[in-house]
């Protein structure tokens, strides 16, 4: 895996996003290295989801530069953007599965759009992805409204990795999963990351996930990225919210249990 510190797969500079008078980001900078799992944390409403949407080009920032694979996301032509999209997968906070398609068809959807595959091959590959994220066999032909919240998350993840992208953006994938399921999900992400050389942009509130699989952590607060670094670096940051978050009782419990198992 290439982990040259200059090899940044995502580069955000001076990002400003605003909704009316409400400024969400003000001069935000962030670099994501190729092949790492970066955890994005921050209080509710600090703009984690908005940052994700800006990076994948769903939202026009008021100012700033965003480069993915060295290409500016907003200034590329239609074809180049299409090509970019093929190289990333996104899982939205509330799943955003297509409600009129079954789980398998949802996973097939990006393949259908982006590639010209024979039907049988597409079905086989979609089936593998669905099983990979730990969904039972009978979930394959169910509609999203017939799944539990956690199952919808898994299906969303299966769709995000359908094309074996280079980057996956995950918006709180483990929220709403049972702890065992969440841990299995973390393992899965880690495993796929190792096997496929994925870069993972991982928005989460889950300290266990941060601790277990994230190479680096970026904290969003005060409309900026307040700090980026490893878990150990985070423990030294002197900011009220960060201290509260990484030194609170839940953090201590998560760290303690991680210490015991490792």
């Amino acid at each position: 895996m290439v982990t040259d510190s200059d090899d940044h797969i995502i580069r955000v500079r001076g990002l400003v996003t605003r909704f009316g008078a409400h400024t969400v980001h003000d001069g935000l900078d962030l670099d994501v290295r190729r092949g790492e799992i970066i955890g994005i944390v921050g209080g509710s409403g600090t703009g984690k989801s908005v940052l994700l949407r800006a990076i994948v080009g769903l939202l026009q920032p008021q100012a700033g530069k965003i480069e993915v694979f060295g290409e500016s996301v907003r200034d590329t032509g239609v074809d180049a953007y299409r090509d970019l999209r093929r190289r990333w997968g996104v899982m939205f906070q509330d799943g955003a599965l297509f409600s009129s398609l079954t789980v398998r068809q949802n996973v097939e959807a990006p393949m259908r759009e982006q590639l010209d595959l024979p039907d049988a091959l597409r079905e086989t590959l979609a089936g593998i992805k669905v099983r990979m994220v730990g969904l039972p066999e009978d979930a394959m032909d169910k509609f999203p409204s017939e799944l539990s919240g956690g199952m919808r998350k898994r299906a969303g993840f299966a769709r995000a990795i359908a094309l074996d992208p280079a980057i996956v953006f995950l918006d709180e994938p483990t929220a709403g999963l049972d702890p065992v399921g969440a841990a299995a999900f973390d393992t899965l992400i880690k495993q796929l990351q190792a096997a496929l050389g994925l870069t993972v942009f991982f928005v989460t509130h889950d300290l266990d996930s941060l601790n277990a699989i994230c190479d680096r952590i970026a904290v969003l607060a005060d409309r900026k990225v307040l700090a980026v670094g490893t878990m150990d670096d985070m423990m030294k940051v002197d900011h009220p919210w960060v201290r509260e978050y990484f030194h609170g009782p839940r953090a201590r419990a998560a760290l303690a249990s991680a210490g015991k198992t490792s």
Binding site: F98, S99, S100, M111, L115, D116, L117, P118, L121, T124, L125, G127, I128, K129, R131, M132, E137, F143, P144, S145, E146, I161, L163, D164, Q191, A194, A195, L196
Partner: protein
């Protein structure tokens, strides 16, 4: 940057070189056969599709060996292997004729079930409305006024224009026929009876079904989809009281008013065209209208209005409540709602015709 995978045959099997990714897999001949050994030493890159391809090759060759994979690649291959489709076969497709008969049966049963549910829904709504007589404070006045504006006031321009044009068309078509007998003045009776008795209210009801019935289904349906209806129930609020009664009541109040607007502008349109085309002056038109047209023609139209309103409102809200979790059912049921309510309005109109003919009005 990377070259797509190439397969070359070796003495004891197959050598894979380059990037074995999803594009390459689609392009490679699915007929490729491995020997005893699949050598992947020169494979630069592999994704899940590539891993599946190797496993598939291996299985078809009766358990060839994969050599030269890096630990990461081996792990991915094992992950994919663990997630292959279970071996048991798909269930057999049912017999064609049986399937069709059972499909027909299901449709009939569903239609019967829908009719039953619709009737019970009607009962609930009527009971809720009747209950308001005892407890008028349960009425959601703000909501009712808002709905009245939506379904009533905002529909006035389109309804008036439509009726005006209908009046014009009737006068124009009628005059062509009546002139042959020199009976031009009967155009007044033609217009007044057809507009007041039938067309005014019927066409208004059809426009309202398309405009408001569909809006009811879409609004309630999307609330249902986002579990807002369940949220209302858990808060101890009855969705019938909160959502359905104001809509149905607003429609029952407003449809007669809209019908009245339609009657007026239909007569005005007819009078204008009669004047232009036949020289029947507005004064003559008015005198003839007052002396020759029984007020019951107007009464018949107005009596029908609240019933049409009830049909449109009930069907619109019921279909909204039947929306499931997916976006497609919302679209399907919205169009069902419009088609069904227009159909039922026309059926109702036919029943009224028989009824009024029997009682002799």
């Amino acid at each position: 940057m990377t070259t797509a995978a190439r397969l070359t045959a070796t003495d004891d099997g197959l050598r894979v070189a380059g990037a074995l990714t999803i594009d390459a897999v689609a392009a490679l001949a699915p007929a490729a056969v491995a020997g005893a050994v699949i050598d992947v030493t020169d494979m630069t890159h592999m994704d899940t599709a590539g891993a599946w391809f190797l496993i598939d090759l291996q299985d078809r060759a009766g358990g060839a060996q994969i050599v030269g994979a890096t630990p990461v690649q081996t792990q991915l291959i094992e992950t994919v292997r663990a997630n292959l489709a279970p071996a048991d076969a798909a269930p057999p497709a049912p017999d064609d004729l049986t399937a069709r008969v059972s499909d027909f049966g299901k449709r009939v049963a569903t239609a019967g079930q829908t009719a039953k549910e619709l009737l019970s829904f009607l009962g609930q709504v009527v009971a809720a409305i009747a209950g308001l007589l005892w407890r008028p404070r349960r009425l959601r006045l703000t909501s009712l006024v808002h709905q009245c504006q939506q379904v009533g006031l905002n529909a006035v321009p389109i309804v008036a224009l439509m009726a005006f044009l209908i009046g014009v068309v009737l006068a124009f078509q009628g005059s062509a026929q009546l002139r042959q007998f020199g009976a031009e003045v009967f155009v007044v009776d033609l217009i007044s009876i057809s507009v007041l008795r039938e067309l005014g209210i019927l066409l208004t009801a059809i426009i309202v079904a398309g405009r408001s019935g569909s809006a009811f289904t879409a609004a309630i349906g999307s609330m249902k989809m986002r579990e807002e209806i369940d949220a209302l129930r858990t808060l101890g609020l009855d969705p019938i009281d909160v959502l359905v009664v104001p809509r149905v009541l607003a429609l029952m109040l407003m449809l007669p008013a809209l019908g009245f607007v339609a009657d007026l502008s239909g007569l005005i349109g007819g009078a204008m065209m009669s004047w232009i085309d036949l020289g029947v002056s507005p004064a003559v038109f008015q005198a003839r209208l007052l002396s020759n047209t029984d007020v019951w023609h107007f009464g018949v139209g107005m009596i029908k209005a609240p019933f049409f309103a009830l049909i449109i409102g009930i069907i619109g809200c019921y279909e909204g409540m039947s929306v499931g979790g997916d976006a497609e059912s919302l679209g399907r049921l919205t169009s069902t709602s419009v088609v069904l309510s227009i159909f039922m309005v026309i059926v109702m109109d036919a029943l009224f015709s028989i009824f009024f003919a029997t009682v002799g009005i």
